[in-house]
Structures are given as C-alpha cells and as structure tokens.
Symmetry: C2
Subunit: 311 residues, 2 copies
C-alpha cells in the first residue's frame, strides 16, 4: 500500500504579447498534453478566467497566459513540458519554473530532478536551486533565465504535510467514503466560501480537490496510505488578508508529524505557539527569475518511545 | 562531488558447534567475498581474536564464529552474503542480521532494501522492521528467524552524523591531509587508548579507521563532501563503563546538523543538555532474534534564515 504523493510542479507563462491564448486551445489538446506526463484528465470546472482540471495524479490550472500543472505518483511532468515547447516554440515563453519535492521512494521514480533539468535545458537556459538538506525534506527548483515582470504578483503558498493523524486517516481511508463527508471534514464551505469546487475520491484511496474563484485557485491532494501519508495544500490567494488562520486550521485538522511550508512572493506567517513543532529548516532566497522563495521545515518532538514498523 | 556514505551492514554468526572457523579461512577468501559486494580490501590488522579489514567502501571484522561487514557507496552487500551461504550452506548459520540506512540518493543505488530482503529470503526465512519514518532518517533491519543465544552479549552502538561543521569539514577536505592530523583531530590516542589502529585517507576525499582491542572493535568512516557529509561511528564496546562521554565528545567534534543514535542490547544514554538538538524520532523494539534495538533521531533547531543551495 504505497503511493508517492510528493509532487512535481511546473508553471509556464506565455509571453503577454504573444497571440497564444492557452484557454482557446481545445480540450483535446490538454488531454493529450497531460498524457505525455503519464497522467490523465478526470474532470474540469471553469470560470471566466481559469479552467481547473483534476488529473489522475493531481491537477492542472489553465489561464489565458499561464498554466500550472502539478503531478504526483510516477509521472514525468517534464515530458509534458517538452511536448508543449515542441508545439509552440520557446519564443512564446517568457518564463518556466519547475519544482520537485523530495520523494518517499526516489528509487521508484522514472526520473530524478537532475535528469529532468537536463531535458529542460535543451530548450531553455536556466538555473537550479535546492531549499533544504538533501537527506531531509527539501524542494528542488529549476527556473528559466527569461525575465518575467509578472512574477511579483504571483503569490503562492504551499503546505505539505507528512504522516497525518489517525482521525484524518480514518476519514480518507473509509471504503466508498462520500465526498460530502470529506468536504465537511475539510470545512470547505466555511473556510473557502465563494469558490467553485470540484473534487474526486479515488478507488481505493486518495482524494483531490480543486477550487477556483476569479483568478484564484486552491488545490488539495490527500494520500492517506498509513505508512506514507501526504497531504498538500496550495493556493495563489493572499491568505493573510482573505483567509487568516486558514493554514493553522488545516494543520489542526491533519496534525501531521512533520510539514513543510513554502511561499513564493509572500510573507505569510504561521502562528504555531506551543504546537510541539520545531523549526528545523528555514530558508529564504531571491531567485533571479523574480521570485522570493521561503522554505520552512517543521518536525514534531517525539519524546515517547514507539515501536518499529514491521514490514 | 557526491559520495553515498550511508551504510549497509551485515552480521553473520556461525553456529557455535560447527567446525567452521572464519579466521582460518584464507585471506584470499575474504578478498573474493568482499569483491562480490563491489568493494575491495585495502589493509588488515589482527589480534588474537579478530581480523579487521579496511575496505574501499567501509570495513570488515572477522572473529572465529562471527563476521561483520559494513559497506557504503553503491555496493551490494547482499551479494557477498549470497556468495558466503552458497559456499558454506545455511545449516552453519544460526543468525543473520542485515541493516540498511536510508540513503541520500536511493535512486543511484543498485538495489533497495526490499529487493535485498528478497535475496536473503531465498536462503533464510526472516522478518523486516523499519525504525523511523520513511521520509526522514530511518534504518531498515532484516533478521533471520534462527534463534541465537549469544545475541544478549552482542552490544552495538552507532552514531550516524549528517552535515558536519566547517572546522571538521576543513580537516577532512584538505588535499593530501596527513593521517596524523586526522588522528589528532579525532583524539584517538586519548579517547581510545590501548586500541590497535589502522586508518586510510582516500583520494580525493574520505577517511576510514578501524580499531581493535581483544574482542572489541570500533570503526569510523568520514564522508566530508560538503553537500552530503556523513560520519559514522560504531563500536561493540560497553561505552558507559569503559568510555563515558565518548559519544558526546564525538558529537562535539563534528557538530552535525542532525544525527541518529542506535543501540543494540545497550541502554547507553546521550547527555545533550542545551545542545540545540531536538529529539524527533524515538523508537525501541525487541526483535524476535534477541536484539533490543533503540533508534533516536536528533535535529538541530534552525532559526536563522539560510540561502538555498545553487545546484
């Protein structure tokens, strides 16, 4: 019972002056593109600004001049990018940013970050960074050298949780669990009112949710497998003004043993008084592509003896 | 500049009533056996009880009725065991215990713990345990089901350190560093007097040391590569009575960002007051093969912002 929830993510910005409008591409095109990564499209919701797809492995969001694709499992997201740039050419792209989280089982993956970067560099020059120590939670980032003025408005917040508590595990592990029960557990209606929601409960396990409201999105992916549980929450909302305490509420729901908190161009803070979490990783860097990235790694104290896991 | 310091370890006990005496096997035999794992023998020291070999990747200790082989890098230690049991047969072996640490880059390895265990199980039934969470420092253990009365006397202490401080890195990274300088840094003469010592400084980087005294051994392996440094210390000495504060002294020398502390059949304690280390993993289990294993994971607080690593 293992599924690799850890994600790869690509954000591609099309040149503002290019005639290419991503939302005008036919749905068939996105089906084909997603297939290149090894995933497939399961459903879609739309508003005036954005199409939000739920994938067999995570999510795809498409705006007129930008797309964001997140995939997990054993997918090779880089291959979707290669197909895209082969179709449209690099002169249409002012920026690419690729992010790859450390995996539970990197030896089961079809590629590693370094070989991915080799593929990107065949099309676009760029640089790579790692936030966090190699033997612990970390995230790798490759970005193209192209300058992109819009990056300053592009907030992103990620909350990546490992080893969720028993109560949350039970909610997501019940056979044929109803989506309404999960939405209630997550408190979507109260916490993110006004968002159009699409969600999917996987058989036997796993849950994905996309929400959109104007140009904003959020997405949640839950891998509840007991020995390798992983929950990711990501949004481009300005949380501190629009949804204060949302992240703390999510942490309280899942009570993970450890979690990573990342921000792109945001000074979002976590208030974690007396939570039992220790800050063991704390990074901030201004990337040449215009993003300020912050990466925080938190781990819970574990003072009581536990048993080993019988494999 | 990457080297995988994380180790695999096998301890094989020959049946006390068997006529097989391991130290009577010719040196050629051990050269051949070590080669099966992908490593090679570089030097040897001996006393009345033990032959201690330094390997191209770690160490081998041979007593009359027991051998302990530790290998790192991309070795496949399991293949040495397969060659051994193919030669001598399983009826000569009352016990096997195999331990494999999580790697920095598991995707560069030639095997994983699970495939190793499949190989062991072709010869000996046994069970597997994991101490620690899958996404963090952990150690996997496979042991045979055979009962072995001697396990109670078989103390082992391991101190596995990650990301050593700048001062230690400098000592081990200097080109053509003299072994005496390293021994002085380690304080071997004062801290472990009476031990016969053999050590090896690798080109361009890396250092291994074996020490033996009667039936006791200790071994130190240093991988100083900056982005993936790793230092292991292991011994079967009863430290609390013979060498109190030795582990704390070693920690103070290397001041790692994180470390794991393991004991087999020992209640050895660490005294870490105000050290800045948090206990984030704390496991104890009695394995069916007679070993009580304890695994502790410590990580330093990291309150100041750091930059990312440019890859």
């Amino acid at each position: 019972m293992f599924f690799e929830g850890s994600e790869k993510k690509i954000e591609v910005n099309v040149h503002p002056e290019s005639s290419l409008c991503l939302r005008e591409l036919k749905k068939d095109y996105w089906h084909k593109l997603v297939k290149e990564s090894g995933a497939s499209i399961l459903s879609v919701i739309s508003n005036n600004y954005c199409d939000a797809y739920i994938l067999s492995e995570s999510s795809l969001f498409v705006w007129d001049k930008r797309f964001l694709m997140i995939t997990c499992g054993k997918t090779t997201l880089v291959d979707a990018f290669v197909a895209f740039i082969e179709e449209f050419g690099k002169e249409k792209l002012p920026s690419l940013i690729y992010q790859r989280k450390n995996e539970y089982y990197s030896f089961l993956q079809k590629s590693d970050f370094y070989s991915d970067v080799e593929k990107y560099k065949k099309y676009l020059p760029g640089v790579s960074h790692r936030f966090g120590y190699l033997d612990r939670h970390h995230t790798n980032i490759f970005h193209s050298n192209n300058e992109f003025d819009g990056a300053q408005d592009d907030f992103t917040t990620e909350l990546l949780m490992y080893h969720i508590n028993d109560r949350a595990t039970a909610v997501f592990s019940k056979e044929n669990q109803e989506k309404n029960v999960i939405r209630d557990f997550l408190g979507i209606d109260q916490r993110l009112s006004g968002f159009q929601i699409d969600d999917f409960a996987f058989d036997p396990l796993g849950y994905s949710l996309n929400g959109i409201k104007d140009k904003n999105y959020f997405t949640i992916h839950v891998t509840p497998e007991e020995d390798s549980s992983y929950v990711s929450f990501e949004t481009n909302c300005d949380l501190s003004s629009q949804h204060p305490r949302l992240l703390e509420n999510i942490l309280d729901l899942f009570q993970p043993e450890s979690f990573d908190f990342l921000t792109f161009n945001s000074n979002q803070q976590l208030v974690l008084d007396d939570s039992g979490y220790h800050l063991v990783g704390n990074y901030k860097d201004d990337l040449d592509c215009g993003y300020q990235v912050r990466f925080f790694e938190y781990i819970k104290e574990q003072s009581d003896f536990r048993k080993s896991i019988r494999l």
